[in-house]
């Protein structure tokens, strides 16, 4: 205890430990995130901006980037939509085995991605359990871009479910009841009462699923077919560049992916901020 008259130079915070935790956070982030990314960009910038643009404009690289990002986007959207449904069912209804189903949702998190890829390829290959039914319908999944989509939805699902689940659990049924009592149609209640508070969670899930999908390698590589200009993803192209001992080329593609992902995540974050302002929730 300091004695009375002089004010202490430093006032103890109500929440102690800010200095040490912030220091730890900064060092931790620098060592584990900023330093590797900095090294990546430093290596890539060795060939200059025009060099980077030239690599991005290579038809094969451009096609692979397009494949990766467009399919990731669609897959994340689908995962978000169905993740919302899954989360809704798991939170709102009680049924036998609910806890088991709830646990199953997390499996794609825990599964090594290569195992997921091999399992999906085995299922959707022309002689697989699912593939053998789809093939006669003229629907080829494995070894086509559709296969990439399936793998990316698979790994994106838990993100979508887990980010909206707490919001659904929180949402108040009284509001729904009030809406119904005031004469709103069921659809109107869903649209104006239920969904708006969930939107930030859905967007977070979408962003996470998208980010994960863009960088996904193991699960895709076994089901994609990896044909240049058809089903070749950008991460594979990085591995190929590395096999050619072209470290600069590999880091350049990685940097381009990083830039696009960063821009996409920024847009999603802005959307989130907007939705928070708009609906004033969470």
């Amino acid at each position: 205890m300091r004695s009375g008259t002089l004010l202490p130079l430093k006032q103890a915070s109500v929440m102690p430990g800010f200095g040490i935790t912030l220091g730890y956070t900064l060092i931790y982030l620098s060592l584990l995130v900023l330093l590797p990314l900095g090294a990546l960009i430093a290596k890539a910038s060795g060939i200059g901006l025009s060099g980077i643009v030239a690599v991005a404009a290579e038809p094969r690289v451009a096609t692979a980037l397009w494949t990766s990002f467009s399919i990731s986007l669609v897959a994340a959207a689908v995962a978000s939509l169905f993740g919302l449904l899954v989360a809704w069912v798991l939170t709102r209804y009680d049924f036998p085995g609910r806890r088991i189903v709830d646990a199953i949702v997390d499996l794609p998190f825990a599964l090594p991605t290569a195992v997921a890829g091999i399992a999906l390829a085995a299922l959707y290959a022309p002689n697989g359990w699912v593939g053998s039914f789809l093939e006669p319908l003229g629907l080829k999944v494995a070894y086509t871009p559709l296969g990439i989509f399936v793998a990316l939805v698979f790994i994106g699902l838990p993100f979508a479910v887990r980010t909206v689940q707490p919001l659904i659990a929180e949402s108040e049924r009284e509001l729904e009841e009030a809406s119904a009592l005031l004469g709103a149609s069921r659809w109107r209640t869903v649209w104006s009462i239920l969904l708006p508070p969930l939107l930030p969670g859905v967007l977070t899930g979408f962003a996470l699923a998208f980010a994960r999908a863009v960088g996904e390698y193991g699960s895709v590589i076994f089901i994609a077919g990896n044909l240049p200009y058809v089903s070749e993803i950008a991460p594979l192209l990085i591995v190929i560049k590395l096999s050619e001992y072209d470290y600069t080329g590999a880091t350049v593609i990685a940097t381009i992916m990083l830039a696009i992902s960063f821009a996409a995540l920024l847009v999603i974050n802005l959307l989130q901020a907007w939705s928070r302002r708009r609906f004033g929730h969470v």
Binding site: R60, A125, P126, G128, G225, N226, L227, Y229, V230, E244
Partner: protein, 343 residues
């Protein structure tokens, strides 16, 4: 109370760390009493080197009284070369294609560039070739390379960018067409047509084998000879059969000492002994047993040799010159494979 217990806990953590560290030291001491060799090899040689390494350890013990333990690391040939470049302390490398060892020599200087001339037979203790695996009864009637470019035939082969096996397949097809028509343009057309028939490019030879054998995709799998025999043994001779083309490539998976590493580790004598052992009668017989073509045929069991069909083999160097050019013209960025993949 609390202020007293904290330094105590800290001390116990330090003590635990010290004890743990000492434990690790004694553990590594115990291991290093036995000489360790690391052989960095490519993917389909797992079964082979397990047997070779045991045979070498026995032989070395009998000759010198020294215990030696050879560890082997396996993976795609190009990826393995990269781990050596990035600093894994391999004593010897036994890779799938000469250009991968060239890449190590060029990037790190740990291996002299004339490494091929330092061991007998161009540093090739054994060779192999590319044959075709087809489904039992050969429903598509595949006899030779020409059948692989026919419309409607599906060929399963790995990506030559990532797989040594894939590169041998590519070079074999190119060489066949070149031998037939005598022109590089025709050969380019030929491989273009062939790769149009490829529905899946796996990243490694084993991946392609799985796609063909387990996923039942495709009509023909051009494969390392030993890999084709392995499928017959694994999946049953009633499901697949081997078709031998009239002409194929002499696949050359070479071996080399990593000089800088063995000198740093003091393992030069054992590592050189290991490479020499690969040319011994005992090792040669093991190569033949695993369906590789031994460089010393007389050392192998006659029945193992009889299983390896007679066919005309060409070396790619006789057609395309040195390995620097072969790698650059075909597989590097903008090379032949990139050109024919454009659609």
């Amino acid at each position: 109370m609390a202020s007293e217990s904290r330094p105590f806990r800290l001390r116990s953590v330090v003590a635990a760390l010290v004890i743990g560290g000492a434990g690790l030291l004694t553990l590594s001491g115990a291991v290093s009493a036995q000489t360790q060799l690391l052989n960095v090899s490519y993917d389909p040689t797992r079964e082979l080197y397990r047997e070779i390494n045991q045979a070498f350890a026995d032989e070395w013990k009998a000759q010198t009284g020294e215990a030696v333990n050879v560890r082997a690391s396996h993976g795609g040939s190009g990826a393995q070369a990269r781990t050596v470049i990035d600093g894994i302390d391999a004593d010897v490398v036994t890779l799938g294609i000469p250009s991968d060892i060239d890449a190590i020599a060029k990037a790190t200087k740990k291996i002299p560039t004339d490494w091929r001339s330092r061991l007998p037979n161009n540093s090739l203790p054994y060779t192999s070739t590319v044959v075709f695996l087809v489904r039992k009864g050969n429903p598509k009637g595949i006899k030779d390379w020409d059948d692989l470019v026919k419309p409607g035939i599906q060929v399963i082969t790995p990506n030559p960018k990532t797989s040594a096996g894939g590169r041998w397949n590519f070079l074999a097809a190119w060489g066949y067409s070149h031998a037939k028509d005598g022109s590089a343009d025709k050969a380019k057309e030929f491989v273009t047509a062939l790769y149009r028939n490829v529905p899946v490019l796996d990243t490694g030879a084993r991946g392609s084998t799985v796609t063909f054998a387990q996923r039942a995709l495709g009509d023909v799998l051009p494969a390392w000879e030993n890999e084709a025999f392995l499928v017959l043994d694994e999946f049953g001779r009633d499901k697949f059969e081997i078709v031998v083309p009239t002409l194929s490539i002499l696949a050359e998976p070479p071996v080399a000492l990593v000089d800088a590493n063995v000198d740093a580790k003091g393992t030069r004598k054992v590592a050189e002994g290991y490479l020499k052992f690969l040319y011994s009668d005992k090792a040669q017989a093991i190569f033949a047993k695993h369906h590789y073509r031994p460089s010393k045929a007389e050392a192998a069991k006659p029945e193992d040799l009889a299983a390896l069909p007679n066919l005309k083999l060409f070396t790619i160097e006789s057609l395309q010159g040195n390995w620097d050019d072969i790698q650059k013209n075909n597989f590097d960025s903008g090379g032949l494979f990139d050109q024919i993949s454009k659609r």
